[in-house]
């Protein structure tokens, strides 16, 4: 491998994986779309570098990551409130930084939230599998050998053209809006639309979901966040026939404790779906840490679409703005 276009993992941290925007289109094989749990954050970080928004980057969970570069590289990150340093200099989220040959990049523990997405100029060059470079941890394929990064790994990057004055200037010229750069909230409120299972819960369970705070259980991962708190009782206890679930689905198993599904969730499930967190709030959901509280608020499906389309329009304007700068 050409070490000039690579970085070496000095310390892999809690959980660091290669992710892009995931592999939609493979659900019929049982493969979940996966990808960056906050795809929007990775898109923003990629756009700051004028990468393709589908370029592969890193998803960093809870920090402890240290890496070293053999040649200069532009990079940008978005996500939780991490303390990130290039050498000794801090790098804020939603800004472009330059790491020099031999320099270290460190993600220390976050103060709020738990995940961040790091984009590197040109993207990580691992072989796509099923049209994506994302790591599928459950099935053990994609990304870097189908597994989280380990200390000592040398991770290949796309060739980077020599940095000229204009790319140097860009480092200071542009930043992402704060709510995109750092979407983690200490006590988030997630907006949801009703799920097919909503009528199976009585009025008190429905009211509980929309009025009481839940606590994120330690037993949470990229598949889903388990929520402790009040029990959501179902009116009927008939078995359901398994059908599709999606990231954002709030499903309620017989014990009445809801599970908020995230990007690596199964494709088919048999528990009632009381609601679905809307797409624009999945970035906040991706930041839920064990012990943290979370609340839910209902919105209409047309509002969910209005919010999504407004965000996409804003992201297009942002992308145009970035490209005009360079």
């Amino acid at each position: 491998m050409n070490k000039d276009n690579a970085f070496t993992v000095l310390h892999a941290g809690f959980l660091t994986t290669v992710q892009d925007l995931g592999r939609p289109g493979a659900r019929r094989f049982g493969v979940s779309p996966g990808g960056a749990l906050d795809g929007h954050a990775l898109r923003v970080a990629n756009l700051l570098l004028e990468n393709e928004e589908t370029a592969a980057g890193l998803e960093i969970t809870l920090g402890g990551l240290r890496m070293q570069f053999s040649s200069p590289r532009l990079l940008a990150w978005c996500g939780a409130d991490f303390d990130v340093k290039i050498g000794k200099a801090p790098l804020s989220p939603g800004r472009v930084g330059l790491v020099q040959a031999g320099e270290e990049l460190a993600f220390n523990q976050p103060r709020v939230g738990c995940r961040a997405w790091l984009a590197l100029f040109g993207g990580i060059e691992v072989a796509p599998i099923l049209n994506s470079r994302s790591t599928d941890l459950r099935a053990g394929f994609g990304g870097f050998d189908g597994r989280p990064l380990r200390s000592g790994d040398v991770v290949p990057l796309a060739a980077s053209p020599p940095l000229n004055m204009s790319s140097q200037r860009r480092i200071f010229s542009w930043s992402a809006p704060a709510e995109w750069a750092m979407p983690a909230k200490a006590a988030p409120v997630l907006r949801f639309v009703r799920g097919a299972g909503w009528p199976q819960f009585d009025a008190s369970a429905q009211q509980t979901l929309t009025s009481v705070a839940f606590t994120v259980s330690p037993d949470s991962n990229r598949m889903g966040a388990r929520l402790d708190g009040p029990i959501l009782r179902r009116e009927d206890h008939g078995d359901l026939i398994s059908e599709a679930v999606v990231p954002g689905t709030i499903q309620v198993p017989p014990n009445g404790k809801p599970i908020l599904l995230l990007g690596d969730c199964q494709t088919i499930g048999g528990y009632p779906k009381i609601g679905h967190v809307i797409t624009v709030d999945l970035p906040k959901a991706a930041q839920l840490c064990p012990g943290q509280t979370v609340r839910f608020r209902e919105v209409s499906l047309s509002d969910a679409h209005r919010l999504l389309l407004a965000r996409e329009a804003e992201l297009s304007r942002f992308s145009v703005g970035v490209s005009l700068q360079s």
Binding site: R27, G30, S242, V246, Q266, T279, L309
Partner: protein
């Protein structure tokens, strides 16, 4: 036909309410509608995935509300377009290969972790359970849960066994298992609550192959009992 939202980028098309009474008929109908929708190729639809009685339809709201348009009707407009396609399209029942795919299964006690429980529940001997299980014809209704996991119908009624009250943290790769009236195969070691009756040496999921899943919705399969020696040699 009943269409309902699945979050803000998907919808569920309900073909039937149950499947147990006429699994083959329901399966053919679900796959017939799936093919109809594939041919209809409606704009904005990004993915279709079947399960037992429903088809999940995924869409991109951005493709359905051009810049400046009011997104209030994204869902209703697409649901209406789906209904029109369903009403006007012709459901062609695909003729499936009548040959069943042979799935070798070793029912040895080392692999059949819950054979005794299944036999006890069915009031049969373990050998009778194996004979029944290996004597039936099965169909794949959908692939899901984990990559390559086939949800099957065709389990003889006598063998229906409730899910374990405490799920296993690790069901070994290749485990053939029974969950109530359903039966399936675990393509990778994963948590699971179904009763394990045996193990297949076949690899059910290989992301480097096209298609990556060995089995797909519609396939017919049969389980063929094999001994430990054949299991070990097939594993190599």
């Amino acid at each position: 036909m009943d269409i309902s939202p699945l979050g803000d980028c998907g919808m569920i098309l309900r073909i039937r309410d149950t499947f147990e009474d006429a699994p083959a008929e329901v399966l053919d109908e679900v796959l017939g509608y799936l093919e109809l929708l594939r041919r209809a190729n409606l704009p904005g639809i990004t993915e279709l995935a079947p399960s037992y009685t429903t088809i999940a339809v995924f869409y991109d709201p951005r493709a359905l509300a051009p810049a400046g348009a009011d997104p209030a009707n994204v869902y209703n407009d697409l649901a209406a377009a789906l209904q029109t396609a369903l009403a006007n399209g012709q459901v062609r029942l695909k003729r499936w290969d009548s040959n069943a795919i042979d799935i070798p299964v070793c029912y040895d006690e080392k692999f059949a972790l819950d054979l005794d429980d299944i036999a006890h529940h069915a009031r049969l001997s373990p050998q009778q359970v194996i004979d029944l299980h290996a004597g039936a014809d099965y169909r794949v209704h959908c692939v899901g849960f984990t990559p390559g996991f086939p949800y099957l119908s065709g389990l003889p009624r006598e063998l229906a066994t409730p899910r374990r009250t405490v799920p296993r943290k690790e069901v070994p790769v290749g485990s053939v298992a029974i969950g109530a009236t359903q039966t399936g195969i675990y393509p990778m070691t994963s948590p699971g609550g179904w009763n394990v009756i045996g193990r297949t040496p076949l690899r059910l999921f290989n992301p480097k192959k096209n298609p990556p899943a060995l089995l797909c919705a519609g396939d017919r399969i049969r389980f063929r009992p094999i001994g430990r020696e054949e299991f070990e040699s097939l594993m190599r």
